[in-house]
Symmetry: C2
Subunit: 340 residues, 2 copies
């Protein structure tokens, strides 16, 4: 169980980076939580510390399995993760559950915000649940989630579940940070294929019809057939994987093991063919470039000389004394000491 | 009429920045076209020249009127712009027509690409038509369009029409660079309010039912009523403007003058209340910040030391020797001479 002020690091004192790094490596959830808070922060001194911790805890083994989970609100993502995560920890796995939810500022945490929906998993010593960072745009949330994945892996979590809700580009973002992408669907809503963004169907490595219990069982079976037919319309995946359509009842914990078997099959196949590694390589390159860009901006905008010049020029632009392009020129010249 | 190799500047020789600046100021379309090509380029030496030209031609008078025009494919944007632009030049106005179309790479210029659809306007000495820059993402197209607006204004174009098609975020982008936003719609398609993104209706300062001619006239009248009712559901605009619903026939050139009257009314009202200027101020601040960011990235990524370090680190990241975050750290340290 994760309680903020338990563990070796007390809330009263700011832990050093050495303490945090040691804590993360030994799997201490309090140290992990503290480090993630640094990663989510935009304060320059916190970012510096975060960079140092990420530098020194890096785990480049690629042993973990990162699974993206998406689906519209009401599809039962929390209940599914509760059942799926519980099954995994019962098998001896350590599971981290993260979320990419750029709407959480507005909706006060529409996903994972209410941990009480995952009662068992929250109290499971082998599970670590972290809601989405709030107050940031998708780019910011994506950056901190990528860094959080790295920290969780360093803390020994072998399975990372990244939950997202179908808002804007968030699925594409999550797809770009996971090995396996799982789309949760409901049956019995009448028009099964209605309202699915084409892009999301194409991204899915597996479609799982949730709530296949009681009266829904027959409808779930029919929905599975329809999705299988629909998936035939798409070109085959580059890595040779044929997306699997499954059903489960998160409530009655039926079909959950089968999903894990499919994911295992995927991981085994793609590791053997090398496409698992190639995907990670592509993602790593992309992570590097986005991390670099955010580092560059942090460095530039946090510099006192930039701040001073920026304030003056914003006023001039507002008053219409100079054009936006003139102001950009002037600023680049004024801070030429920062940029050589 | 605009012919690439007419005017004072010949294709055979690269014009100097002084020649281009002089040419733009005197309204020479060849000089303008050359400068826009520099603005659209990503080559460092072209960008340097573009910055210099933008610096020295800046017109901060805010006398121009920038009008965004959007609508689904088939609504008749080209025909409308042909009729609307022709009416404006007949009144002695100088009109520039630009496009924001991030899909043009794929579709080879779905809008404005085929200038033959605007036969009269293309041959009008007081009109300048420039298709969307191709080969760039929305951010890149937006940047070059903003800079192109500034160049056209410096060349004496008092009315800037920015056409866009409803793809992704392009309307929002165009809305952020114009004074007045016009949404073209069709009537008689049965379910009038179907398929309109809510955000776009809210952005519109006027909705114009196009193709209100022949058998369509009655349907257009009905559509106008429906849109008026729909617009009542939205909260009033901050600047006090009530969006107007109009109809026109671009083919028969009916109702075109009325649209211009509405825009004039809008410009008069908002200039009197100060909200015209406030909108420009907000936009200018935003243009400044985005211009600055692209300048910063250009400077950083084009630097030889960055390029060298980048290549080495990309390889290490790919091989999994170091993590993406370690690589970002290392690069920032290696190029610390560029960033002080």
């Amino acid at each position: 169980m994760f309680i903020e002020n338990s563990g070796n690091i007390r809330k009263s004192r700011k832990p050093t980076s050495d303490e945090l790094i040691k804590g993360i490596r030994s799997g201490d959830q309090t140290a992990l939580a503290r480090a993630i808070t640094l990663v989510e922060s935009t304060r320059p001194e916190d970012r510096e510390l975060a960079h140092l911790i990420l530098q020194r805890t890096a785990d480049n083994s690629r042993k973990s399995v990162r699974i993206g989970i998406t689906g519209v609100p009401g599809v039962g993502k929390s209940t599914f993760i509760e059942a799926f995560g519980g099954m995994l920890t019962a098998r001896g796995e350590k599971v981290a559950v993260l979320a990419v939810d750029p709407t959480s500022t507005l909706s006060k945490g529409s996903i994972l915000g209410d941990k009480t929906r995952m009662v068992t998993l929250v109290n499971d010593p082998n599970a670590y649940i972290r809601p989405s960072a709030s107050g940031a745009n998708l780019g910011g949330v994506a950056r901190s989630t990528r860094e959080t994945i790295a920290l969780c892996e360093a803390a020994g979590y072998g399975i990372i579940l990244v939950e997202t809700v179908g808002v804007g580009q968030s699925e594409t973002t999550v797809h770009g940070m996971v090995d396996f992408f799982l789309l949760l669907k409901l049956a019995g809503a009448g028009d099964e294929l209605q309202g699915i963004k084409r892009g999301i169907m194409e991204m899915a490595d597996s479609i799982v019809i949730n709530k296949a219990d009681g009266e829904n069982k027959a409808a779930a079976k029919q929905a599975m057939q329809e999705f299988r037919r629909a998936l035939h319309l798409y070109p085959p995946k580059e890595n040779g994987w044929t997306p699997k359509v499954l059903s489960c009842s998160s409530l009655e914990k039926e079909g959950i093991e089968e999903i894990w078997q499919v994911i295992n099959e995927y991981v085994r196949d793609t590791r053997a063919s090398g496409s698992f590694d190639r995907k990670r390589e592509r993602q790593n390159k992309n992570w590097f470039l986005t991390a670099l860009e955010s580092r560059l901006k942090e460095h530039f905008y946090n510099h006192p000389r930039t701040k001073k010049a920026m304030n003056e020029l914003l006023k001039k632009v507002e008053q219409g004394v100079i054009s936006p392009f003139q102001a950009a020129n002037e600023l680049m010249e004024k801070v030429s000491g920062i940029l050589k």
